[in-house]
Symmetry: C2
Subunit: 323 residues, 2 copies
């Protein structure tokens, strides 16, 4: 079975017991209660999700926690704690490496008031980091799922895209940076993504209709929102904000910059569907909102345009694994 | 660094932020609030913690959830949900295997009203199952830690020991079962341990002083209680209850039955320190209580006796990994 087949199988077979508002199939699970508990987990495997040649242990610690906090952000939840399962390969993990991994997590945890509350450490054939983040929502029914987008909504992202993919290209020597500062920013976008906790909370409070984080690429993740909501989503590629330097690096790689940014993945901005009137309200509260498209009635799908003309979606619309 | 060194390093470096009552170093972490959130994680790696030759996928699903629920039981918490990180090796996982893994989890989850609320699926070099369980405690300050044992307490276990280790010996062909029914029960003790959720809840409500689950063997885990509580714990080996068949299998293996049971691990009974007057109160509420020793003042340590005579603790007092 492919990974997507297996995920679908899990989603279909999920059983919700009393007290679970939302189970498998969204960014995080939400348990009923006051407050509601929001929980999400992500597993990072060496040479599948990261390479130590391009991701230091401190970066890895940051990223492993960041991707989980991003899932909580996408529900609009307040993060509280994380637990860490660590599998150490036969080559071991030096004390300095362990300290770096932990420092990367603790620094990000401190920023968001999160406690690294426990963990499990074991040996195994490869470095594996399984992080579970736990958050709360005073009103668990207010969690913003992927399924609430309605025709007429604006679709927006909370920041520039393509930076992480461009940063990885730099790290792998596939492209050269336009200038050192821009290069450093792109590498940081790959290594140390920012979970949009505050944006997610504010967007939930303002009544955003649907939200998820852009981890696997804009096209794939927007497709998930379209499927879950039962709507057609139109995206104007020329409205997709590009991180500085992405256009030149995409050109050097022989790619179209907007599609490069829309399929690169790993950016961890939020993708949100909201009433048009809420865009200025969100901006007034400090949320970065870049409208990139609209929700329409129709067969669940994502339609792309560039300067008003239809653009065929690339065969591979995103990434399930990023190395 | 050895695993124990690294765990110690993690424990020492743990930072508790506002709202965390109890962090790294107990069975589970407890977050302040009403209700308090209790969270624990365990990672099982193929050929480190289990072998597919002796543990079917359905058993694995049961056990991966059971060990986490056992950690919640040891805090006296009510389990609510679990999330699952699954790493699938290059050889893949057939649909039938996946369904078996899931069924093993769902059956146990149903018994305890737990929702398998989400997960993450990825590929990697080996089968790895990282399960995180989340529970609640109306009063998080009532969580039963390892650290509360006081001189004068009775130390007890909630069931017979040695069954899981004897079952593994049968599965590996190192011993023959005394009779088929007993053999089946021992194998089940290894494959499908029972998390003592109800016992843990009742013992917490009755004011048990310290508690942890017996996952790494009675001696090692009692040693953890002694260290955390700053007490000497005396265990009468002849009072340790043995699962049926354990004595004969230990004999066949050339081991002393009581030490075999006290070091075998994987039994997942609770080890509890409680006031002597609470033993009959707990029994009156249906908790199985086998007193096996006492808490004394003294250097944190575990002292063993057999028929009143001191017995030297074996060099290897328990197991960190059980295959």
């Amino acid at each position: 079975m492919s990974e997507l087949d297996l995920i679908e199988r899990i989603t279909e077979s999920a059983i919700r017991r009393d007290g679970t508002l939302l189970g498998v199939g969204d960014d995080a699970a939400v348990l009923a209660g006051a407050p509601g508990i929001v929980v999400t987990t992500d597993v990072l495997v060496e040479d599948v999700h990261f390479r130590r040649a391009t991701t230091g242990l401190r970066d890895l610690g940051h990223k492993a926690l960041a991707v989980n906090l991003s899932d909580l952000a996408a529900m609009g939840a307040d993060p509280r704690a994380a637990v860490v399962g660590l599998v150490v390969p036969p080559s071991g993990l030096a004390a300095v490496d362990h300290d770096a991994l932990r420092a990367g997590m603790e620094d990000l945890a401190a920023t968001h008031g999160v406690t690294i509350a426990g963990g499990d450490l074991t040996s195994g054939p490869a470095l594996v980091l399984a992080v579970t983040a736990v958050g709360v929502l005073d009103d668990p029914a207010s969690a913003v799922t992927r399924a609430g987008a309605v025709p007429g909504d604006v679709v927006a992202v909370t920041g520039a895209l393509g930076g992480a993919a461009a940063g990885l290209a730099l790290l792998e020597g596939r492209a050269a940076p336009p200038d050192p500062d821009i290069g450093a920013a792109l590498v940081a976008a790959h290594r140390r993504p920012t979970p949009r906790i505050d944006f997610g909370r504010t967007l939930r409070r303002l009544g955003a209709h649907a939200m998820l984080d852009c981890s696997d690429g804009l096209l794939l993740d927007t497709g998930r929102m379209a499927s879950a909501s039962g709507v057609r989503i139109e995206i104007a590629l020329d409205a997709v904000p590009l991180a500085p330097g992405v256009a030149r690096i995409a050109l050097a790689l022989g790619a179209e910059a907007d599609l490069f940014a829309a399929t690169g993945g790993d950016d961890y901005e939020l993708i949100v569907a909201m009433a048009p009137a809420d865009v200025p309200r969100a901006r007034a509260e400090g949320v970065v909102v870049h409208p990139i498209g609209h929700v329409r009635e129709g067969t669940p799908s994502v339609a792309l345009t560039r300067k008003g003309d239809a653009v065929a979606a690339p065969a591979r619309g995103g990434w399930l694994h990023h190395v």
